[in-house]
């Protein structure tokens, strides 16, 4: 069962994540304000902020999923407190090094640091690129140890076949694998895979650096590896959130716990394959990539939506439709998050169609769709967990009027800020422009619209931050 130590460290995680989240949102709003012409940032500042915003967001929502999964996993297997603490320390050091490289060193090659841009990074200090790569390595080491440790904990109790819930594919089986264990296994393998890809990228970067120009890397190979890592980790963190939903949604709703069935097992096993091949859609506009892989990219992106929609989303519908549920802020946030995830997925499937990608690739449509399933999906999953965690000991948590107001604020802010992105994408506004050329008439007003609604979103998040952190601090300083 959950130990006191684990409770305290989870509180520290939550407070850290929410603090970093607020800073990252502020950086995002500053970028939109700069694009709208309200404030004037130096170009270099804009792009180093872009880098900080991207990687910090990826980092915190990844660890948010991991620490939630780690906390809940103790219901099934014992997990290591020391490893959890190590991951926390590595994450904090990683963030500090990252911020040093971007805020002080002005590293500005974006969080994808697409080869060979870090070598030709104008305006950055000479040490910034190295420091940035080191900060990535620090994240990578901490997270890798964490994943391996959690995986080992699962495998102590479950055989590989059981962890993958393969026995559920047969009619008769003796043991049951909880869906939480199945999803965590599938997700952890995906994460280990993309962390290894990141290691290869960093090694190849350092190899070229140390060879002093004797050889260069293949830009196509590096791009494949970059998106293998980047796309996969961004998706796996959503799956971590889903693992939490499978575990908690029924529980907080006062319903019987979800069980693994043959289709749940099949869906999640398939997901592992699709998630590892869908990243090819990032290279549609690189005609040098063989057509076969481009087609695989589109098909895998389409197929990835099937288990998600047909199993997870439909299971949520079944659990809710005409069912008496104890609605609290936790399960409302889960439910809203699923809706955000589905709508972001719709935007993603439209963009993952090659013929559409020709006019949408690297326009604002791209940040539009991934902000949808992050800001209105994954963030809500994590906030739900944070809220549930911080109110565990409290009885009779009902959806108060204040909470309803908070949700409405979050929705209005989120929808407005995302719409500005979607409309910008359909108006061909390119992403990652610090200032827009005057010929793109709609770009500036849209940036302002985005910034204004993002401020509304931030207000809702600040309120969550205050409430959740207050309770987490109590847990942290409570005597055992």
């Amino acid at each position: 069962m959950e130990s006191q130590g684990m409770k305290k460290i989870t509180s520290v995680w939550i407070i850290t994540i929410l603090m970093l989240f607020v800073v990252s949102i502020v950086l995002g709003i500053l970028m939109r304000l700069n694009q709208g012409g309200v404030i004037q940032e130096q170009t270099l500042t804009f792009y180093s902020n872009l880098t900080t915003h991207g990687l910090t967001m990826i980092g915190i929502w990844f660890v948010a999923g991991m620490m939630a999964v780690n906390y809940l996993m103790q219901r099934y297997v014992r997990t290591s407190f020391a490893v959890n603490l190590t991951a926390l320390i590595f994450t904090v050091i990683g963030v500090l090094l990252l911020w040093l490289s971007t805020f002080a060193g002005k590293f500005n090659a974006a969080w994808t640091f697409l080869y060979p841009l870090p070598f030709k990074d104008f305006g950055a200090s000479s040490w910034a690129t190295t420091l940035f790569l080191i900060s990535l390595a620090v994240f990578g080491i901490g997270w890798f140890i964490w994943c391996i440790s959690l995986m080992a904990n699962i495998l102590k109790k479950y055989s590989l076949a059981e962890a993958f819930a393969w026995q559920h594919l047969r009619k008769e089986h003796k043991t049951d694998t909880p869906p939480f264990i199945l999803i965590t296994t599938v997700t952890l393998i995906g994460i280990i895979t993309c962390l290894i890809a990141a290691v290869i990228i960093i090694v190849l970067f350092f190899a070229e650096m140390l060879s002093q120009g004797r050889f260069v890397n293949d830009a196509l190979l590096m791009k494949n590896l970059t998106y293998f890592f980047g796309h996969t980790i961004a998706n796996e963190m959503l799956y971590l959130g889903l693992a939490v939903i499978y575990e908690l949604f029924a529980e907080v709703s006062g319903r019987p716990k979800w069980k693994t069935t043959w289709y749940v097992s099949l869906a999640w096993n398939c997901s592992l394959v699709f998630i590892l091949t869908a990243f090819f859609h990032h290279l549609y506009m690189d005609f040098v990539q063989p057509e076969g892989l481009q087609i695989v990219g589109q098909l895998a992106s389409y197929l990835a939506s099937l288990p998600a929609a047909g199993v997870t989303v439909f299971s949520v519908f079944i659990a809710v439709y005409r069912t008496k549920i104890k609605w609290s802020l936790t399960n409302v946030l889960f439910f809203m998050g699923i809706a955000g995830w589905v709508i972001g997925g719709l935007g993603a499937v439209i963009d993952a169609t090659i013929t559409n990608n020709v006019v949408l690739h690297n326009t604002l449509w791209v940040p539009a769709h991934f902000h949808t399933y992050n800001a209105m999906g994954n963030v809500l999953f994590s906030l739900a967990f944070f809220y549930w965690f911080s109110t565990q000991s409290l009885e009779n948590i009902r959806l108060s009027t204040a909470a309803k107001g908070l949700l409405v604020t979050l929705l209005i802010g989120g929808i407005g800020f995302l719409l500005a992105f979607y409309i910008g994408g359909s108006d061909s506004v390119p992403r990652r422009y610090s200032n827009y050329p005057a010929s793109l008439k709609e770009a500036k007003p849209l940036a302002l619209m985005g910034a204004s609604f993002a401020i509304v979103y931030l207000i809702a998040i600040l309120s969550f931050f205050y409430n959740i952190s207050r309770r987490c601090l109590k847990i942290l300083f409570a005597s055992a």
Partner: protein
Amino acid sequence: MLQHELLILFLILAGIATIVFVYVFLSSWRLKEEGGGMKKPLKKRFWFSLILVVVLGIFATATLPRSPYFQYAHESPAKVIHVDAMQFMFYMSEHAIDPKLPVSENIELPANQMVEFRVTSLDVNHGFGIYDSAMHLITQVQAMPGYVNRLRYTFKKPGTYHVLCLEYCGMGHPVMETSFVVK
């Protein structure tokens, strides 16, 4: 414009999804006593998944053959334009561009005839996004160092076309711009 149609398609789909989610939510929220849940959920799940497979299958078969890699493959271009992208400018020429001494020319292209752009980069990854005179993105390709991508396109309307960089390439990314004329 394709992208405006896509926005409308997206808004319709997102609207339907929202309605479904709200409907499901209200069916539980408004419930006074146990409602009995969904009838025959497995059958409904099967049909839902099957419809999804069919819809996605139709989309894939309709769109994949129209991918840019296969377009104009069996035609000869009326003109070949060499494009070398560099931090933070585009060199465009009807002649091959010497990477040590890149020179740009004013480009004039014929309307209603297929032209080919041979796009490469002299340093980092760039994007070669072609915008029409109303600043709508009409086609694009990436410029990758060490490779030449061949983008084929037929411009239907005469006018000035703009080129913007569509891959983040460093702090000068937003000022990377050029244009050409179609007559």
